[in-house]
Amino acid sequence: MLMLIITASIEITDTVTVADIDVQENLASACKAAASQISDASQANATPRIKDANAVNAFESSLEYNLRLDNTMTPLPNTHYLNPPQFWLLIYNGDSDFASDGANLVDYYYFDGTNLNTESISAPSGFPAVFYASTTGVNTSGGAYQVTLNTPGVVAVIQIQKKNVLGDVPVVTQRWAAARIVWKSS
């Protein structure tokens, strides 16, 4: 019983550090980096929209630096993680007014641990737009967590397996985060 308590205290503390601090904070930071990638044309028009290609690059770069992954998303030596993460990233602009400048209505990406794939999603248009974060990504039909975007923004879900301190039961962490653009209209 005593050994179980000791083991649990170590493993739980380590898991909380990885899941609630490292992964959660850094996913939120990556979402903010992605949401801040405004297209030049939309900014000049005072209706900021997110440039998708820049956003996904900023998202990946932020995760790589802060989770200590290499440029293939593989964890560097001496990090907390066992494998590359999987993530789902939705970038929503609400309209296609600046699609010619790279800001599409919606773009949805899924990184499976090796490749970044573009996924289809039945997105609404306009604001507010409701999305759900679930264990299988982001969708518009339902999930554990509801996210309402009143302005252009991003919603992301990440899944990553941490290294065990003790034992060999896989400990997989899933966290979600969202960020949106806020600006003064006048």
Binding site: I21, K51, S62
Partner: protein, 190 residues
Amino acid sequence: MGNHTFHLRRVSGNCNLVAYPDDTECSQCNDKQDHKHYRIGFLRDERGTIIDFLITSILLFFFIFAGTDYFTTICQYQIAEHIMHYYLERARVEGYLPDTDQSDMITQYASAQMNVTNISCTNPDNPGVQLTAPLQRNTDNPNASEIDLIITIKPYYQPFTTGLLIGGNAAPSTYRIKVGGSVLSEYVST
């Protein structure tokens, strides 16, 4: 098994402990002041059990204290991360980490029993050069607006000292906690 009171005495010339049930007169010792009395509920009143208990206790002691040491170290790391993330967010909004923020951060770490030994707030295009003015947001070149913050901290108490009791090594005096992160500046000049 019930509660039994034991006489424990050191056998002269040896370091062995011998136990006698309380209701049995001690035939080897006339001086009762040399005896220590223990009430140990879960042990049978058999000779040698106390020694088993002591050996087991020592092993348990190391498991408990090693676990506590690890727990304490991870907790220090958690606190260090929380404080760092707060100031990383400030750097994102302000474009760098001003002196006032750095002073506040050092005070916060001190209140958590940690001493800041180094703060590195740089841009990857100019590594090693401390940011002393705000970086502007730059979506055309994200690297130009990237702020890398690394904080090196020396805790007041060195971890992993349990090993010293068995001749092992504690953490060296150069032990530090290093936390940091990278953000893209959102600062726009007015």
